[in-house]
Symmetry: C2
Subunit: 248 residues, 2 copies
């Protein structure tokens, strides 16, 4: 049973202002909550069905509250239409400075606004072994429930760093190239790319902002041959990362 | 102004049964309707705002009804939350047989169920210059409004062929290889792939069905190096198509 007060608190976490205020966010669904329970995130409460609790007993020994609930209660409390497993309230991690020496290859997002796209990109970054993503300040919020859901658990392995992106690029170590997806860039299929440097992906409608683009040293282009004018930013990120990692 | 009867008709087209019955489907939003007007699809009616009508006058000279409506009416009639441009009712094209000789490279989908994924895949197929997609009978419906929206206009350049996929593959011309995305496949980065043959992509949860998989002659795998267990089927299709077309 979820109390009225808790229900209100859970729902408030669907709004960024309240996530920031409480430094907490929600995670929904079996796979995501199971990955969360195996991560180093601190938890406040796990609401779960009897079935989930039985299946994942070994993950529930830590210092947080566990509440058994029905599927209906989960659907009512969360943002998913159906949820037959669990919903967890987790603590946001304190923001840390980006350490260049730990990340020979950096994925940076310039105003990627759609939560589904950001979640997809985080999942792809995790697939290729990245452990951080750099985001301009007005990009979608990493802790948004739609972002978390779309990462399919990868949010537990990727650290977000929100920065003033042009400034961040200006202050990069010497000789670090900045790649950027741009229609007028070089054909990625003709380059022998190595995962060293920064790759900047731009906004869904407007691409990379001019103030960021002027810091891009290596514009890249995925050659198309059909009638489509563009690729979705998640799709383009996947193809570019594959081109960077295919030779390494 | 949209009459009550027309409103009911438009809404009924959000359901597959009624699309089949009427052999019609809806297209929403500025880019999609503009691409539709430049395609060879037959139209029944275009509902559009004054702004859209003024901007696209040159596209509205054909033999179909044009009705000026408000943004509120468009949102009320269609499936999009906001639509400040247009909604069109278009005629489905009669199904045609698949002509192997016209398609040296074939993308085949085995039970891809999510409309958003199918739409994304059609957009990617169009980017790489394909003009058809083969789908198993229980895949998502090409004419679903969410599929149409996610293609960003590419639905006008790709012909869907719904088939019994195992049978279709069995009857393929001699020496046509069948590639399939599978965890136990060969590393795509180590192969010199050429766009000849069939590429099969499987269901979001279950991958390629056993009866289809036994006809795959060349299983392929995208090597990952992080913690993510899998890639979204749209993402995987994009990466694989890029690997097929990068050398050609």
């Amino acid at each position: 049973m979820i109390s009225k007060g808790l229900l209100k608190y859970i729902r408030s976490l669907q709004i960024k202002k309240y996530r920031l205020l409480h430094q907490a966010f929600t995670v929904e669904g079996e796979k995501s909550v199971a990955e969360l329970l195996q991560s180093d995130f601190a938890l406040e409460t796990v609401f779960a069905t009897q079935k989930f609790l039985q299946k994942h007993t070994h993950l529930l020994q830590k210092g947080f509250e566990v509440v058994e609930v029905s599927e209906e209660e989960l659907a009512k409390a969360g943002s998913m239409e159906t949820n037959n497993a669990a919903l967890a309230i987790a603590r946001m991690k304190p923001a840390t400075d980006f350490a260049w020496q730990d990340h020979p290859f950096v994925l940076a997002l310039d105003e990627v606004r759609d939560p589904g796209n950001l979640g997809t990109i985080i999942r792809i970054a995790d697939w290729y072994g990245l452990t951080a993503v750099v985001l301009s300040e007005n990009s979608a919020d990493f802790y948004n429930q739609k972002v978390i859901a779309a990462t399919m658990g990868s949010f537990t392995r990727i650290t977000p760093h929100y920065v003033n992106l042009p400034e961040f690029l200006q202050k990069r170590p010497q000789n670090v190239p900045v790649y950027g997806a741009a229609l007028a860039g070089k054909n990625v299929h003709k380059l022998d790319l190595q995962p060293r440097g920064v790759l900047v992906m731009g906004n869904e409608s407007h691409g990379i902002r001019p103030e960021t683009m002027q810091l891009v040293t290596q514009p890249l282009h995925i050659p198309g041959r059909g009638g489509a004018e563009s690729l979705n930013v998640g799709t383009a990120t996947a193809i570019l990362l594959d081109n960077f990692f295919r030779n390494s």
